[in-house]
């Protein structure tokens, strides 16, 4: 015990990555399948506890990386096992752990059979995602990044709910592999151009891009390759078409994690922008253009969807467009608004997917053609669907509001025209959500719905209410998050625009 705690002292991040993987192995082979669900909840709760301890040990007033762990891995290529977090990545650790806790608890009833593998795959995915947020060696990051494909492939193809789940799983894999090629090319190009010999070390590369930046002619191809690699995952137009496919075919738990953790945007913030700062600023129009197209295109497509899952997928594409647009301003408010909005995807977007899952579990569909009048039989579900929907539309007093305010303030400073267009997207957002809500939740009860359809069960109420309290809390006191991330955000901004 003592030895373990002393080992943990220096290896908290390794512990956070390894624990879900170990727990996954244990659960997979667990003899009594009836104990698997509570054990999975315990495993994710322990991970949440660990991530909270890690965040508590981080010194927020220091801008740089902390809790670093570094050891040789492939010395001939100068690749290391290198972990660490700073104020930009640390909030994502508890967010990931919390999201997976919610997803595991929420899946309590959603999974019909063979839980063992299902919960094991979810836990593997959790560990890999923690790895993505903590990796400081670009190759290590890339390996975590690509490894997530494996659990996701099996989650879609084995536990999907749509008839096209095999097809969707293959398409997801192909899309991510194609994006991965561009990403790897970008990272290798970056490593080869490091003046002190080949280096995949993120802190070294960051220092170098600040002190002796590459000429723009080299930066631009690096930036474009990284942008393509991350844009597939974000997703940005026109590389988004896997998302509607996956949310229709995949299990709700997976959709909630894919929408709730915007790894692609994290990649942009952590790698693509600061490692090619001048190129990123020269190509600000590209980022802003992709962002504004995403906002409008996603909102327009969401307007014509009759299925809540597709509506939420396109709506998340629209929201993430605003995040990219705000990053293109390269300003403090833009970055902090984007970070806050990324947390909102975890707190708001993923819960909307879980609520869709709860409805699907009870009624077999999330298409408004099969629904109608849900507020009569499921008042609590309907209330929370409205509240979270409003929060995603940036209703004041919810966490959506401060994030949108910061992003808009930044966007108006740098790109007034796209900002106005994005606000037009806000009107569309009200339209698609309110119209869906009116058709599915309000109106007379659809005759095919049983009048004794159960409302949210206790465990479902618990996670929905917990998330809503967090949404309210951040909405009322956003400075908790914003002040905490400020030093790291300042360091990031210094690296981007210098001086």
């Amino acid at each position: 015990m003592n030895a373990m705690s002393s080992w943990l002292d220096g290896h908290w991040l390794t512990g956070l990555i390894a624990w879900p993987l170990v727990a996954a192995l244990l659960l997979w082979g667990w003899p009594n399948r009836h104990q698997v669900r509570p054990l999975a909840v315990v495993a994710t709760l322990l991970e949440l506890l660990g991530s909270l301890i890690v965040v508590a040990t981080v010194q927020p007033h220091q801008g740089g990386f902390q809790l670093m762990e570094r050891s040789d891995w492939i010395p001939s290529l100068n690749i290391h096992y290198h972990l660490g977090i700073d104020g930009l990545s640390a909030p994502f650790l508890p967010a990931t752990a919390l999201l997976f806790t919610a997803v595991v608890v929420g899946s309590w009833r959603l999974v019909p059979a063979s839980y063992q593998l299902y919960f094991a795959l979810l836990l593997v995915l959790e560990g890999l995602m923690i790895g993505i947020f903590t990796a400081l060696d670009t190759i290590l990051f890339f390996i975590f990044w690509e490894l997530t494909i494996i659990p996701i492939y099996f989650l879609i193809s084995l536990y999907g709910i749509g008839p096209q789940r095999r097809f969707a799983a293959i398409q997801y894999t192909l899309f991510m592999l194609a994006g991965g090629v561009a990403l790897l090319a970008g990272l290798v190009l970056l490593a080869l151009h490091h003046p002190g010999g080949v280096s995949f070390d993120l802190p070294q590369l960051l220092v170098q891009s600040l002190t002796q930046p590459h000429p723009v002619a080299i930066q631009i191809p690096i930036f474009l390759l990284l942008l393509v690699g991350f844009a597939v995952k974000v997703p940005l137009f026109p590389l988004h078409s896997w998302l509607p496919l996956v949310v229709m075919a995949g299990p709700f738990a997976l959709s909630a994690t894919l929408v709730g953790l915007k790894l692609g945007v994290y990649g942009l913030i952590r790698f693509a922008l600061p490692l090619a700062p001048q190129a990123a600023q020269q190509l600000h129009w590209l980022l802003a253009g992709l962002g504004v197209i995403g906002v409008i295109y996603g909102a327009l497509l969401a307007m014509v969807q009759s299925n809540l899952r597709q509506l939420l997928a396109f709506s998340s594409m629209s929201h993430v467009g605003l995040v990219v647009l705000s990053l293109a301003s390269f300003s403090m408010a833009g970055l902090q608004g984007a970070l806050l909005q990324l947390l909102n995807f975890t707190l708001i977007g993923s819960i909307l997917f879980l609520i869709a899952g709860f409805i699907h579990y009870r009624l077999g569909s999330t298409d408004w053609i099969h629904l109608g009048g849900l507020a009569r039989v499921m008042p609590i579900t309907s209330s929370f669907a409205l509240l979270f929907g409003m929060a995603s539309m940036a209703l004041p007093m919810t966490a959506g509001f401060p994030a949108e305010q910061l992003m808009l303030a930044a966007i108006f400073q740098s790109h007034i025209g796209p900002g106005l267009a994005a606000l037009g997207g806000q009107i569309l957002a009200a339209t698609y959500f309110i119209q869906y809500y009116r058709r599915a939740f309000l109106g007379p009860l659809n005759s095919s719905i049983a009048t004794d359809t159960p409302d949210l069960y206790r465990h479902e109420q618990l996670i929905v209410m917990l998330f809503f309290m967090l949404v309210l809390g951040i909405g009322i006191v956003p400075s908790v998050v914003v002040d905490w991330t400020r030093p790291s955000a300042q360091a990031w901004l210094l690296g981007m625009i210098g001086h």
Partner: protein, 496 residues
Amino acid sequence: MNTIYVLIPLLPWLAALWLAIGYVGGWNRGEAGERESAWIAIGATLCSLLGLLWLDGQWLVTTAPFGQVPLWPWLDSGSYQIAIELSLDRIGLLLATLASLLALMTLRFSVHYLHREAGFQRFFMVLLLFIGALLLFLLAGNTVIAFVGWELMGLSSYLLIGYSFDRTTATSHAAQALITNRFGDVGFLVAIMLSLLWCHGSAWSDLSQNISQLDTLRSGILITGFVVAALAKSALFPFSSWISRALEGPTPSSAIFYGSLMVHAGIILLLRLAPVVEQLPGLMPVLAGLALLSIAYSLASGLVQSDVKSTLIFSTQTQVGLMLLAYSLGWFDWVLWHVMLHAIWRAWQFLMAPSELHLLPEAIQQPPPKSARFDWLYPIALQRFYLDALATWMVVRPSQALARDASRFEARLSYRLHGAPQTSNNEHEHSIAGQLLQRWADYSVAIEQRLLLHNATAGIQQIWSYLAHRLLLLDHLLSQPRYLVLLLLVAFLIIL
């Protein structure tokens, strides 16, 4: 010490939260919970009213209102620095006191009016949300805080119009009200962001001090944002049509929202901004024109209504139009008193509306005989000046068509990118990578054949005719107004 003032708008919200928790927890549902819910609602609002009266008393004694009261910083990041601050000045205190008094009476009225209704607790919860939002809006010290109240008023209005949520008319009218108001909200947001950018602040005083340094175009755009917000919230021309559909909620909510309090929010916003608007003299004639149009709209439509509540709402709109007219003439004090007196009178009238039929004399007064000369106006008034049809034709249809086009484009794009799953006849459709490979091979063969084996000119002719077809398609698309307008908008946004 000052921080205690924040309790004035907060108390109704805390009461609403308590009711919500009780409902989820299940201890105040049904008839048994009515008494507790009503007491909590009335008690919280009464405390707010007493707090306001205490402030009013201090104001009377010291003969000077408090003015701007900064409470604490809310959000501070880069150029965006917003504090929670209240503005306890003449407008704020007068209107907030009146509003909480009217709200209190409406709550008391509702206790019996909604007795044994299924949604008793829900109604009180939403009404409390509205009261807090209204008080926050009236007392807000800067535009962002005012927007918080403004938006939550909109949400509670949506929830009350759709109160009887199993009636399709109620829910679709609620959706229409919310979406129309969304235009105003976006106007408000644009104005907030531009004032942060150009006036370097969000407090009302920052605006009035810094607006004079802007050129006419910028200050014009900035103020237009606020004006659009005010027009949408107060249901003035051209946003008039939503409010007459908004009377689907229970009578007390109609009284407090559309009769007496929320309908004035737009005018109150303009009153707050009076020192700013004054510096833009060109705007006043525009406001006067809009006011006259609103008055004509509501006068004519009001004459052809056949039920009490609709007549009342059009009469309300006429009065609000008159307020805007007086505003455009610069009579700001007159407008303030008009708002207050009208709010009291109209609240009473709306609450009396259900019993109006019993109180009316046998013979109902007919419209004046002169109006017979304007028979051409009759269909127009019945159709409410075709505003709904116009909005459908100009905004709703084009955006829906655009959405359908986007969806068709998306279908084609996703087909290109990842093909289609195995179909019933067991053919696998290829995605773009597969197709590219195949086409590359096909083209190589074709070029080989065309350039080397066949006559070269035939191939070039084919290319020309292909290009011509593409241009014709482009021409066809541009001949449709929505794409032309979209192109213009894009050009405009790029130039900006």
